[in-house]
Point group: C2
Chain length 172, copies 2
Amino acid sequence: MRWKQIETMTCSVARTLSVVGDRWTMLIVRDVFLGLRRFDAIQHDLQLTPHRLSDRLRKLVRDGILRRVAYEKRPPRFEYRLTEKGLDLYPLMATMTRWGDRWMAGRAGAPVELVHRPCGHAIMPELICPCCKSKIDAREMTARPGPALKGRGLPAPDIQPTRRKIARTSAA
Amino acid sequence: MRWKQIETMTCSVARTLSVVGDRWTMLIVRDVFLGLRRFDAIQHDLQLTPHRLSDRLRKLVRDGILRRVAYEKRPPRFEYRLTEKGLDLYPLMATMTRWGDRWMAGRAGAPVELVHRPCGHAIMPELICPCCKSKIDAREMTARPGPALKGRGLPAPDIQPTRRKIARTSAA
């Protein structure tokens, strides 16, 4: 399969990656979340070629993640803002931050702290089950076909139960 | 900047992407979470060339996400299992699933349902603040320099407060 075909997979991970899975794209989204909205600012921060940055920004606008907004009329100048669909990538960014802080930061500690303004604490957002409110543990999760895959089973040619335990660790 | 240099950025998102940000890598991780542990099974599912799949698996082992375990001695055959570090990518995968289900699934609905075994419900994991337990809303989050960036400020050359509101939507 070619990368451009992944959005045709019946898989939400693949579909998400078809939007934000290209190199640099999530770092551009991160910059916009941090308040960098202008081409020059993002380019300065990521040190990308103008061609590459234009290409990614154009795709993010086309995919409905960013909106191009004029902030000056003469000469016409634009900045990029997150749409609702783009803003909804925050959990993805926060989850990447948490993983990087935990496994990659080393002794220098976290580069950035995320602060929850309503309660005032620097936090690492936590994933919970909305039904029973307990913290999600990968070992306690299973996957089964949803509406779009009913009758077709999960993509797993070596084992074929319709329901299976998701995670097996090396310790299992 | 070149992609191979992103792990040198003082940024947890960049560091996470240096491990799982390459094309196909998160789909391989997804397959292992779904129980596909063997080279042939993953290759069959993703239709990758053996060379490309070997390359990604080797990197995932080197980065400590997967562990190569012999399941047969003669002839020697191996499968791949998630380490603790790899298992901790579950929140990332679940968050991608949630975003894809919400924005990309269309009328056919979700491809896969995630079931929380302790309570038995098909759920979409939710991101909460571990302090006040409320649901995370990107508009209510701010970022500030953590220990590794103390005194250096956040990477945002156009606006320079040490603390800033993270998200501005197009509606803002």
